[in-house]
């Protein structure tokens, strides 16, 4: 194998992991600060200037916490479950395009880890594996509340994955390819949110439900089911669940930007390819802000309301969107 290529992949992958983990840490701070501002208060501002060392403090705290495994819990699965949830969250980011190609040290380097021609299928497949982690966490805790929470979370995630997958088909039909790089490139004339507003809304709502975030956060709410599937988790294992949720937040915002907001496209992007990642970052920040804004505003859905929304409203709407888009694509060529 070409060592330069291997080195390029390794460096890009490591850089991506580092960026994601740092982003996750500071996303927790951003969420606390933005939630605080919406609630007319200041967020953490004691650990470091403007609270910038708060994620470090949180990380150290979680590392030092005692690792408690319940007596009758299935130890192997108990320890594996957070990993099964976190690794897909990190793996999805491999296909996100951060820009086109730039020249680094006289070598054309593409600003994404991999451009596979079935990228969206890969995304959906890997995202479905995370459901296993949640269910196994609930089951291996030997706690009836955790079990129920895990089952509810799993049912919620798979119900909304249907509508999510169907809403993805809109941009796919318009671009004619499953590859995320192709989808971004074909948005040069006009962003897909203009052509596919319904798909954009459905994608956003279903991905909020996938993330188990408010207003769909019944499985992990503290007041119901005593914190659901991660009741028995403490210390680093709990931090991994937390990490999975926040990294998926970043991923989902990035996917929304890539599919509907033109990804890394923006003014003067073709002359200066380095502007690509910056534009994508701005769009991801907007998406993250909307996710936090939703959490601060909306009350929680009851579980039956949640299921009803997923199956009886979003799924038919997503199907309808696919049919209409397909008809338009065929008619307009």
């Amino acid at each position: 194998m070409d060592t330069a290529l291997l080195l390029e992949w390794t460096i890009k992958a490591l850089l991506l992991i580092v960026i994601l983990l740092t982003g996750f840490a500071y996303l927790t701070l951003m969420e606390r600060k933005v939630l605080a501002r919406i609630q007319v208060r200041i967020g953490p501002n004691r650990a470091g200037p403007y609270g910038l060392l708060q994620p470090v403090a949180d990380g150290i705290k979680l590392l030092f916490k005692e690792s408690i495994i319940p007596a009758k819990a299935d130890k192997v699965i108990f320890v594996l479950a957070p990993l099964i949830t976190v690794i897909p969250a990190l793996a999805i980011n491999a296909v996100l395009p951060w820009g086109r190609t730039v020249t680094v040290f006289g070598r054309e380097v593409s600003l994404y880890v991999a451009d596979i021609n079935v990228a969206l299928l890969y995304v959906m497949a890997i995202a479905s594996i995370a459901v296993y982690g949640v269910t196994l966490a609930g089951w291996s805790s030997n706690n009836k509340y955790a079990l129920l929470g895990g089952l509810r979370a799993a049912a919620q995630m798979i119900s909304y994955e249907l509508a999510l997958g169907l809403s993805l088909l809109g941009p796919v039909l318009l671009a004619g390819s499953l590859s995320l790089v192709d989808i971004v490139e074909s948005q040069r004339r006009m962003w897909y949110i203009v052509y596919q507003p319904l798909a954009a809304i459905i994608f956003f709502i279903t991905s909020v439900a996938e993330l188990n975030r408010a207003p769909f956060d019944l499985p992990e709410a503290e007041q119901e089911l005593t914190a659901g599937y991660h009741t028995e988790y403490s210390g680093m294992k709990f931090a991994l669940f937390y990490m999975a949720e926040y990294v998926k937040m970043i991923t989902v915002s990035a996917l929304f930007a890539v599919l509907f907001l033109g990804g890394y496209l923006g003014p003067f992007e073709s002359q200066y390819p380095w502007l690509g990642p910056i534009y994508l970052l701005i769009k991801i920040l907007v998406g993250l802000y909307v996710l936090i804004w939703l959490r601060a505003t909306l009350p929680r859905f009851r579980y039956d309301q949640l299921m009803r929304l997923g199956w009886k409203v979003l799924f038919p709407l997503a199907l309808f969107n696919v049919v209409v888009t397909a008809v338009f694509v065929v008619l307009l060529g």
Partner: protein
């Protein structure tokens, strides 16, 4: 259908409200650099007051200990002599301890005191790291000597400080 549109509009109004609340200045008080002012009759730490001449007001009657619902006050009285006078009158509080692990800061002791000796002030920063430090003795509770007074024990001329309560002005004649 219109109900769905109304619901979506309601969500939109909610989002607008939270967005507008972002633009308000935050109401956080940065304790301990800034502190909120306490109310006028705030019930904080106790203080044993003195008269203007430096004599302690507390006469060791232990009405405060009797009134305390949490049994937090311990009073042991002793006899005043003119050579070694702590308070006007015959008695003074030789031992006066308030146990802040029991005190509920209700203020009944302040209401029960006949000489207005024990009062509750605005100090609420009372943390301690050892349970023994929670028992405040008389030295910690006593007010510092006022400007024109002398510290106790004082040597006083005989016959001056006989009554435990100072001379009060007569009440105006009660008219039916």
């Amino acid at each position: 259908m219109s109900k769905v549109l109304n619901d979506i509009k309601a969500i939109g109004k909610g989002l607008a409200t939270t967005f507008r609340s972002m633009l308000e200045p935050p109401v956080t008080v940065q304790y301990p650099e800034q502190k909120r002012p306490v109310s006028k009759r705030y019930r904080g730490r106790h203080v044993l007051r003195r008269y203007e001449n430096g004599l302690e007001r507390c006469i060791g009657c232990s009405l405060c200990a009797a009134a305390c619902p949490a049994d937090a006050i311990f009073v042991e009285a002793a006899e005043n002599t003119d050579e070694e006078r702590y308070s006007p009158g015959e008695r003074y509080a030789a031992v006066y301890e308030i146990n802040y692990l029991r005190c509920i800061f209700c203020g009944y002791c302040e209401e029960a005191c006949p000489t207005q000796a024990i009062v509750l002030t605005d100090q609420y920063e009372l943390s301690f790291t050892d349970r023994r430090d929670a028992i405040y003795t008389k030295e910690r509770l006593l007010e510092p000597v006022p400007a024109d007074g002398k510290p106790t024990p004082q040597k006083t001329p005989p016959g001056v400080f006989v009554k435990p309560i100072p001379e009060m002005p007569d009440f105006p004649e009660w008219k039916p």
